[in-house]
């Protein structure tokens, strides 16, 4: 006797499958001229080009909400109509095939035609235990899933006692990524959360399940995507999006290693910029050209030399409120400010110091930032812009307006990860401030707790307090510049005191026995960054650095003492 709930569920499946099996209503083929809505159509098939028994296409936005879903017809054809523009994702699914996601950028309502060939999923190398999960156990993947027995011919089979007229099920232990619909069924159906499921009828209270892995054999390579208009706007946009994402990964990794503001020194950024400029000149589609301009600004951020007219073009075609600046990679790099820098760098000054002290440029950057902050709600973009602006103004000595932007950062985005660090480094009430006396400290020398370092013991010499730990990769990235600075300025009375927040002094000794000798003074605080000795100095993360002169006055902190800026700062202080 089956329960009413199970019976209802089974009836729903039996009802739903034939309805779902109807081919989708064919939308009228996009008429000439711009359609009022976007229409995405094409085919989704297997890698051999043959239609799949069931295939679906889903469109969703960057807010993770589904915009539209449709089922491909018996020939594999599908049509999706929607009214969204901007960044979107298309997801293709097929019965017994691996799903494929494709990023799209629709700058305007568009007609998009594409053909997608899905690959077979990669099965587990050895099928050790194939189990059935389904409506009989609420699709649980625990011990209630029923094991199938391996048959001499390589298939798997078993029977499940069910008190319902039918059984809806999936198989576990076939794919690494999750369940898959069985290969033998009277019907297959698509479930929005579960994907594809198989359904069999129950005879004499038992459902017989057979699984033949040979039916899943086929090409397990990557899905193939072919835009019918391979040189069209959407295809070209997709290629630009992929290039931006790939370059972001490389830049992120590059910034972690070398001691430079430019990721991957030696990389031909100028050549990349030149090639992009040529593509922008040749591009006739406004939307694709806007994306290429975003990509060019990314290359400019990485250090590529970009002509002023391209900065002007970006300002003209991509105003601060343009949605293209909120593309995730563009937002985090504050690329919305980059056109202003590009124009200024090419016209105002060639060398960074003059560039940074140009009041006229700062005004232009502030205007661009204010316009972006007024127009954009994207948090990544806003935090990035506020941070860039505050640092630029602090660098220029414009403390009052910088504090206004820092206060906005704290008030409007108090929970963003960047806010805490910005506030510790730059907030008006912070412990370590340029021009103020170095707060009191007392650090025991590494390996000799009887010897202590205090502002008094170091008085009379210019010294760098370097807070670090061997477990801190960004601290290790500073090693080349620290060694170079020590070697160059030691004769002028410069000293470094590295204060380790490691767990044990031995960790520092082992590190120094390796590539980096750190031939200067060393101290050690017990308790790591929770040490009470560090609390008054607000050293809650590493690396942190403070440069103090012979009178005990702070000359520089943090950013001005990292990477190549350390040498620039010391050159001013110890000419």
């Amino acid at each position: 006797m089956c329960s009413p709930v199970l019976r209802l569920g089974w009836l729903l499946v039996l009802t739903a499958v034939p309805l779902a099996a109807q081919p989708p209503a064919r939308a009228a083929h996009p008429a000439a001229g711009a359609p009022a809505i976007s229409v995405i159509h094409g085919t989704v098939t297997g890698r051999d080009g043959r239609p799949l028994p069931l295939a679906h296409v889903e469109l969703w936005g960057t807010d993770h909400q589904t915009v539209s879903t449709t089922r491909a017809d018996s020939a594999g054809a599908f049509v999706l109509a929607h009214d969204r523009t901007g960044p979107l994702w298309l997801e293709f699914r097929g019965l017994h095939h691996a799903r494929h996601r494709l990023p799209l950028y629709l700058s305007a309502p568009s007609a998009v035609a594409l053909d997608v060939r899905l690959a077979r999923p990669a099965l587990l190398d050895t099928l050790r235990a194939v189990r059935v999960t389904g409506d009989f156990n609420r699709f649980a993947r625990d011990s209630t899933a029923v094991p199938l027995a391996r048959q001499p011919d390589g298939s798997w089979a078993g029977e499940i006692a069910v008190g319902a007229p039918g059984l809806v099920y999936q198989l576990l232990g076939v794919l690494r990524s999750g369940p898959i619909a069985g290969t033998h069924a009277e019907r297959f159906a698509y479930h929005e959360e579960r994907g594809y499921v198989a359904a069999v009828r129950v005879h004499d209270g038992k459902a017989r399940i057979v699984f033949d892995p040979r039916r899943l054999a086929g090409d397990t390579g990557r899905a193939e995507v072919r835009f019918r208009d391979s040189t069209g706007r959407v295809a070209r946009s997709a290629a630009v999006l992929a290039a931006i994402a790939k370059r972001t990964t490389r830049m992120r990794e590059g910034f972690q290693g070398p001691a430079s503001d430019t990721p991957i020194p030696g990389h031909p950024w100028d050549a990349e910029a030149k090639a992009l400029q040529q593509r922008i000149d040749a591009e006739r589609d406004d939307g694709v050209r806007r994306l290429l301009l975003v990509e060019l600004m990314q290359v400019a951020r990485a250090g590529g030399r970009v002509g002023a007219r391209y900065g002007e073009q970006a300002q003209r075609e991509l105003p601060p409120g343009a949605p293209e600046w909120t593309l995730m990679d563009a937002a985090r790099l504050a690329l919305v400010l980059r056109p202003t820098f590009v124009v200024a760098r090419a016209t105002d000054a060639a060398d960074p110091p003059r560039f940074r002290t140009s009041a006229a440029l700062r005004e232009r950057v502030r205007a661009a930032a204010d316009a972006a902050l007024a127009a954009q709600r994207d948090e990544e973009l806003r935090v990035s812009v506020l941070g860039h602006l505050a640092i630029m103004l602090i660098d220029a000595g414009e403390r009052v307006p910088a504090d206004v932007y820092l206060a906005r950062l704290g008030a409007e985005h108090p929970d963003h990860p960047d806010t805490r660090i910005m506030q510790a480094m730059y907030s008006p009430g912070r412990a370590l401030q340029v021009g103020k006396p170095m707060p009191a400290f007392r650090f025991a020398a590494l390996g000799d707790s009887a010897r202590v370092f205090t502002p008094e013991t170091l008085k009379g010499q210019t010294y760098l307090l370097d807070f670090w730990a061997t477990w801190c990769a960004p601290c290790i990235a500073e090693m080349p510049v620290l060694h170079a600075a020590h070697a160059k300025y030691r004769a002028k009375g410069f000293e470094i005191l590295s204060v380790s927040a490691d767990e044990a002094p031995d960790e520092v000794r082992r590190f120094r026995a390796g590539r980096w000798a750190m031939p200067w003074q060393h101290a050690f605080v017990s308790g790591g960054l929770r040490s009470p000795e560090l609390r008054p100095l607000e050293v809650s993360f590493v690396p942190r650095a403070v440069l103090v002169d012979g009178t005990g006055t702070i000359l520089a902190v943090d950013d001005d003492l990292r990477r190549e800026k350390l040498e620039q700062t010391l050159a001013k202080v110890l000419p």
């Binding site: 889903e58 969703w60 807010d63 993770h64 909400q65 589904t66 997801e91 190398d125 050895t126 609420r138 699709f139 649980a140 993947r141 625990d142 011990s143 209630t144 690494r176 990524s177 999750g178 929005e192 959360e193 579960r194 994907g195 790939k246 990964t249 992120r252 990794e253 910034f255 972690q256 290693g257 985090r332 948090e379 990544e380 108090p414 929970d415 963003h416 990860p417 806010t419 805490r420 660090i421 730990a469 061997t470 477990w471 801190c472 990769a473 960004p474 601290c475 290790i476 990235a477 090693m479 080349p480 590539r515 980096w516 790591g528 960054l529 809650s540 993360f541 590493v542 690396p543 942190r544």
Partner: protein
């Protein structure tokens, strides 16, 4: 699918809204906790351990903020290891922890094993037989989270087991497990992996059909005492096996076992990997396969 993404979207909002801007007041641990740089979440399999099936699983998910990273349990030559300390009721124990495949980060000649973005740890817990009523499990997660700076952090979480076996809990567990699976290193059966000591190197062989399919592989050692950090090495395929020669540092201690994760080498995205734990055959009587002898590796 739509629901799964809604969960993710909602979680992003929670991360933004709930991360404390001031020191958190002392309060009972919940199944979620976070800082601006990382949010942790405990999720339990919605099953009730029984005498026949005394194990249940817990998924610890670390959502690392964009651009930041934490470190693997063996962080390499730098980095703070991510450590999870479990506080379990009497009779319960941690049976197994599956870690995600790390990535290799080289900084000034120093190599770290890092984890970025979504970091799932799948933990199998074994209940006493029979389990006595609901159990409260507590976890303390210690880690260092880094970007341009590093911050050591600690989070405490708690979760009552078993989770209520509702349809929505089951759906949430399935979605979470499906999202975690591609990131986790798959355990390798002992028959599918071999290891030999060959003078100044360890030779590791993995049956072709089991290991990552790549011409260059990265081995992340789980024991720093055997090998300090991961290196990208060419793979040599012979006779249905993929061989990798891991150079030992001078004076390396003899290792009875080799443990770690083998992952695909250079090439986009986070590669899938396999977890191996194999005895190391050593001594004059051991015949090291030719494919793993010293000499140029072609990666063919």
């Amino acid at each position: 699918m739509r629901r799964a993404r809604r969960v993710v979207a909602a979680l992003v909002l929670v991360i933004a809204a709930a991360a404390p801007a001031r020191p958190a007041r002392a309060q009972a641990p919940s199944h979620t906790a976070g800082t601006p740089e990382l949010r942790a979440e405990l999720l339990a399999e919605p099953t009730t351990p029984s005498a026949a099936a005394p194990a249940t699983r817990v998924l610890l998910r670390l959502h690392v903020a964009p651009g930041w990273h934490v470190y693997w349990h063996q962080p390499g030559e730098t980095g703070l290891p991510t450590v999870v300390e479990w506080e379990l009721p009497v009779g319960w124990r941690v049976q197994d922890t599956r870690w995600p495949v790390p990535a290799r980060l080289a900084v000034e000649g120093v190599v770290a094993h890092v984890l970025r973005d979504e970091v799932p740890l799948l933990v199998s817990l074994r209940a006493p037989s029979p389990a006595r009523g609901p159990a409260l499990v507590r976890a303390t997660v210690r880690y260092g989270v880094c970007r341009e700076v590093c911050i050591p952090q600690r989070l405490q979480l708690a979760l009552r087991l078993p989770a209520a076996p509702t349809a929505s809990a089951a759906a949430e567990w399935r979605a979470a497990l499906a999202a975690a699976a591609p990131r986790l290193a798959a355990p390798l059966a002992s028959a599918d992996v071999r290891a030999f000591r060959d003078s100044d190197a360890l030779c590791v062989g993995v049956r072709d059909t089991r290991g990552p399919r790549s011409d260059s592989l990265v081995f992340f050692p789980a024991d720093a005492i055997v090998l300090p950090a991961a290196a990208v090495l060419p793979a040599r395929r012979r006779g249905g096996w993929t061989w990798l020669r891991l150079p030992l540092p001078a004076g390396a201690a003899p290792a009875a076992r080799l443990r770690g994760t083998l992952a695909g080498g250079a090439g986009g995205g986070a590669p899938a990997g396999v977890e191996l734990d194999v005895p190391v055959a050593a001594g004059v009587a051991v015949a090291v396969p030719d494919a793993c002898r010293s000499g140029p590796h072609t990666g063919a």
